[in-house]
Symmetry: C2
Subunit: 315 residues, 2 copies
């Protein structure tokens, strides 16, 4: 990663340093590498593809932080917070360009479907930007169906690119359907896990329920709505339609107390079981390559559970 | 263009409608098409490449308007002004993705250097974003040398992609050096012309000297600095270093009165002569394809000249 990022003297050097003060888990990049190994893809090609995916992921984080006016990520101040919107926009764009450069390098050397692989990165990007736009223009997310649609355009695409890319590049496409089902369940699991972290204030942003404060869709609020009946549900929907603007405290207290986080965690565990189910029908090597994605999710559930209880007991 | 833009129901439909209320001259796209015809490139390939260039150009405009907080472009309110920064960022990203999709479609079918062509679009984008970042982080632009460097990363790349792309895709690379020299002079001509328009308030932003107000580099201020001597020049440099913040009126009056715009126009005419020089050594078909680029520049000089006089006569 360091080799492809801006060097000293480049106008974006210090901006890159701010963003990559913490590299994060690089789950998409490392998964892409292990999948590449599993399907026997050339190492250089695998590395370039992993870089393409990881750079695109980081580009979307940098731009999302501007859109959401987020000051913290990975427990560090964001590029938006330190350097302002214009440089964050430029840096995100620069990362996108570099991502396509790496994807093209990977595609150039491969024996598989090079152009479909590059198009995959382009489609990921258009889905991510349309998905992000939907948060600002679309109807509020009140039920699991519309949540699923949103997650399919927000969290799923990059995970797909990480796993499907090496398979396209090595021309081993026979497991595509199972892998797509696996990634879909995994993506929903990740997003629900993130949403629970947001509700508990454990996402590095240092403020519980920050999604609610800015009117962003969150699995915990959908779960909470499911528990409500008749007039009370209508009242809650009204609150969501008004972008969570009024009477924060009373609704947030109610969400904390009625166990929405615990129910949401059960939902998440169902998606984890689905991941295991789909994974089990894949060849051993691919199973091994995809395991860390599921383990990471399982760990985050473990970390959330005790806190969820602490939270619901606190006033 | 309309066929590739978001349809009704897409989260970015109304945003796209705002931006493309006026399509602009589409000079890069149409040039790309005429160059494609000149080198005998397949029509579909040529069209996809032209779309790639035009979409990337518009993406950069949409993001630049957020960076510069510009409310007007092409005499219409910008996406930033109407829909706000978040949707403008999403829409710019979406256009970038679509640009790469079109470039990949063009590359897929061609007989030439497909991967170099896709990489060309990626390199254009990283140069544009680094160039834009430089305006926010770099030293102030005081002389023609640093102006040239900036323009080479701001205005030249997309013009290059429009002309060089079809040549790469059709494998007719023997005129590359002359074409690069031509594009370099043309790019400088375009940027100086834009800067004069900005100084005269004729760029659709409805406010003369808006570059100065926001501390952006402008050829007119470089020309003006050239006319100053000793202490007065140092004073002016101090003003530029302070991002043009203090005593606007007196400097702007001086710039209007000492004829900087007219001298700048002469500079622009030298670049036009250079364009003709380089163009003349190219094959007839290519000359014909590149002529509208120069004519457009010549026309804009004609339109500026009388106004430049009006402006310098007004108080």
């Amino acid at each position: 990663m360091l080799e492809v990022l801006p060097r000293e003297g480049h106008p974006l050097f210090s901006v890159a340093k701010t963003h990559f003060a913490e590299f994060g888990k690089m789950l998409r990049g490392t998964t892409s590498l292990t999948v590449s190994n599993a399907v026997g893809l050339d190492q250089d090609i695998g590395l370039n593809w992993a870089l393409a995916v990881e750079l695109m992921h980081n580009a979307s984080l940098v731009h999302d932080d501007v859109c959401d006016e987020d000051d913290f990520r990975r427990d560090h101040p964001t590029v938006f917070a330190i350097h302002g919107a214009p440089l964050a926009i430029c840096f995100g764009d620069w990362l996108v360009a570099k991502s396509f450069e790496c994807a093209t390098l990977a595609a150039k050397e491969c024996s598989g479907d090079s152009f479909t692989a590059i198009t995959l990165i382009a489609k990921v990007m258009s889905e991510l930007s349309a998905g992000q736009a939907k948060e600002f223009t679309g109807a509020p997310i009140l039920d699991w169906e519309s949540y699923d649609t949103l997650v399919s355009s927000k969290t799923v695409p990059l995970l797909s690119a990480a796993v499907e890319g090496p398979i396209l590049l090595s021309n081993k496409t026979e497991y595509f359907e199972t892998i797509r089902n696996f990634i879909h369940s995994l993506g929903l699991g990740y997003q629900i896990s993130n949403d629970i972290s947001d509700a508990l204030g454990k996402d590095g942003s240092n403020k519980p329920f920050s999604d609610f404060y800015r009117g962003a869709p969150n699995a915990v609020s959908i779960t909470f709505r499911d528990t409500l009946k008749n007039g009370h549900r209508l009242e809650f929907e009204e609150w969501v339609r008004n972008k969570f603007r009024l009477n924060h405290t009373s609704w947030l207290t109610e969400i904390r107390q009625n166990g929405a986080v615990d129910i949401c965690t059960q939902q998440l565990q169902q998606y984890i079981r689905a991941c295991h189910h789909y994974k089990s029908s894949l060849p051993k090597e691919l199973q091994k390559a995809l395991s860390p994605l599921v383990s990471y999710l399982e760990q985050s559930v473990k970390q959330q559970l005790p806190s969820a209880k602490n939270q619901s007991e606190s006033p």
